[in-house]
Subunit: 415 residues, 2 copies
């Protein structure tokens, strides 16, 4: 099947000022269509570099997508380079101009000459409507290849792909049958990568040469990703199913889910199935747990709210945590985690109460309770429990892991 | 000065399963040393692709850094390819093995044959200690170039660079003087990109040919990044200063800060300078505002905590919001935002109370209050005010923008 390359244009990503989320999003999109993403490249906005990179990737791949450099200012060189590469000149595109007019009307702005330039597109290209901005997508279908230039603003880039580009892509794919790639991810927890690999054994024992397995560890566990490159969807599907069965036989005990591992979504599904409500009390995570839980639309039926008790006073005065308990055991303790979970559950009148208290760092640690010590409490009708964790030195990672661990605790309780 | 290329190895990033944060981090690090990051590339973990890409980049650049493919499993091919490229064989590295022993001791695990393999490194390479994992970094200093292979786990990769690689890098740079690149970012707010560009005028009027300006818009404003490529640090610094002065003359009214735009950090600095305390009440953002504010270590002196009142009941029962006000105006209203801000300020006894209530979407909108409608309240000793916002359709973006707007409101109040 079609081979694709994704090019990100602009110094901002190249020098690391922002993280490249566009490439991941486009790669995921293309992969979901069975397209083989062959390369992602980030380059500067210098004309000669853009020219050379697009040319090289067009020679190698069937589909080339660029993001960035389509704006109205002097550092936006992509359009000029495209004209050079395709030996084309600019034309005025009336629909693109009308789109600019519409956007400016809504925002009550006056169109300047610079804005008007955004409606100029290479003459043989198809201008794809940008609902969220002034720069249209630029699409060439030539030499049996697809070339698409998109603006770098994520919402604009995504809108053009989903609303305007996909029909062209589908049409291209339907007229270019061939190899098909299918992926499946199986999530494990509670076992180290190397032990998992030993249990599974030599991959060539159960995978043919067109099928791959990857071990993807992070602190939530190790994910196993199977990839099958086959002549048809059916063949790829069968291969994946066979490999999945094998993995369940070998390491089934450690498998917790399949597909993308979205902890808040798994929690939401379980709360809904069991019809249970939840409230939270956060100290060192400062609202992070609530933020994650409420990423899921519809959670308001099950998640009632919580307390962010960052100071000791607020734990005592608002969450009714016992002052003596804090004095005796410290605010970061098993006892306080239990009180926080029980009290928030009572205040919000929910089935579950979850609490997090810990030392995120980099300061605040002691020999007894070093940075990274976190207690997570979970209260329900049967009582309360708290668990002690030791993460690392890094504030951001400690907070992230505390939140993931709290959600995992409740998931296991609900299962 | 030295030209660098960053290669990310592994299908996980290539097909978009995870976002590539490693490249951005490394690019930022290299840029801070004045090194020109020339390219970032993401490739699959196929041996022949790794081989060809490293070879090409080594030919083009002085410094090549790879991440990924150093793990203990079958999809980890980087080490074998490195031996091919450098015509080298593996040797057992005793310090690396001792590091593995130490890590396993701490975690109470037994070393398997597979783990032991991690201590094998190419014979002419320098094995760089990995304090956070079993795979050492692999460094070659040959043919007047630096080649470094790192594991893909971010904490491991960062640890090796900061604790082990930097002395080698500094030594390389001190013996290779040459061109120097320096960047500066100036943050503006309250003006559109195209209007800003018109006010600033033609860049060639105030920048020489070795100096660039980039316009970087997002919803917080437009950032201007100046880049100077000069023979010395001093020359680059002077050029940047001159361009900065020019920009202050032309668009000084719209400049809000210089350097990286970290809103929670700006807020923290202002709260500290003015010695003011803060509490928050969140509805649709569910804890997101608290999460952002508490990213900053030391904020506990000024941020006391908050309420996550996701349900109406919790707004009424816990935050004492007037039931009649909700019935009359709705929970998403100017009035409720005001009550939430006032009440949380009183409960926590802080100088400021900030509230957010809105319709994050995708459901819950009405013709009167469509998805994306958000009210932000701010209460202090002088009274209370609320502001109405209309963001877009996207839940995640609406929540992000609401949080950024709330922090910006308080920043402006504190200035």
């Amino acid at each position: 099947m079609a081979k694709a390359s994704i090019i990100t244009i602009g110094d901002e990503i190249l020098i690391g000022q922002i993280i490249n989320t566009n490439s991941a999003w486009i790669a995921q999109k293309l992969t979901s269509y069975g397209i083989i993403v062959d390369k992602q490249v980030s380059i500067s906005d210098k004309k000669e570099v853009i020219f050379k990179t697009i040319r090289t990737e067009l020679d190698r791949c069937d589909i080339v997508i660029t993001t960035g450099g389509l704006g109205p200012t002097s550092d936006d060189n992509t359009k000029a380079v495209i004209c050079d590469i395709f030996n084309d000149t600019l034309r005025f595109d009336q629909p693109s101009y009308e789109n600019i007019e519409f956007l400016f009307q809504v925002r009550n702005r006056t169109i300047t000459e610079r804005n008007k330039q955004q409606a100029m597109v290479p003459s043989r290209s198809i201008a794809l409507k940008n609902q969220n901005g002034t720069a249209p997508g630029i699409l060439y279908i030539e030499n049996d290849k697809l070339f698409l230039a998109l603006p770098g603003v994520p919402a604009e880039m995504k809108g053009i792909i989903e609303n305007s580009f996909e029909p062209y892509l589908l049409n291209y794919l339907s007229t270019h049958p061939g190899e098909f790639v299918l992926y499946k991810t199986i999530n494990t927890a509670g076992i180290f990568e190397s032990n998992l690999a030993d249990l599974i054994g030599d991959p060539s024992d159960f995978l043919d040469k067109d099928t791959t397995i990857a071990f993807l560890p992070n602190y939530r566990g190790v994910r196993l990703r199977i990839g099958a490159f086959k002549k048809s969807y059916e063949e790829a599907k069968q291969t994946i199913d066979k490999a999945t069965d094998y993995l369940y036989q070998k390491v089934g005990n450690y498998i917790i889910s399949e597909g993308e591992l979205n902890l808040p979504e798994i929690l939401f599904d379980l709360l809904r199935q069991k019809n249970k409500t939840l409230s939270i009390a956060e100290s060192c995570t400062g609202g992070y747990l609530g933020k994650e839980i409420t990423e899921i639309s519809g959670i308001s039926q099950y998640f009632m709210g919580g307390f962010i008790t960052y100071s000791n006073e607020s734990k005592i005065n608002l969450l009714n945590v016992n002052k003596e308990t804090i004095e005796k055991y410290g605010a970061v303790s098993n006892q306080i985690a239990c009180e926080m979970a029980q009290n928030v559950r009572r205040f919000f009148n929910t089935d579950f109460g979850i609490s997090i208290t810990g030392i995120a760092g980099p300061t605040g640690g002691s020999p007894d309770k070093p940075v990274g010590t976190v207690y997570i409490g979970i209260a329900d009708n049967d009582g309360v429990d708290a668990f002690e964790y030791h993460f690392g030195e890094n504030r951001a990672i400690n907070r992230e892991r505390a939140v993931a661990s709290a959600i995992l605790l409740l998931i296991n309780k609900l299962k």
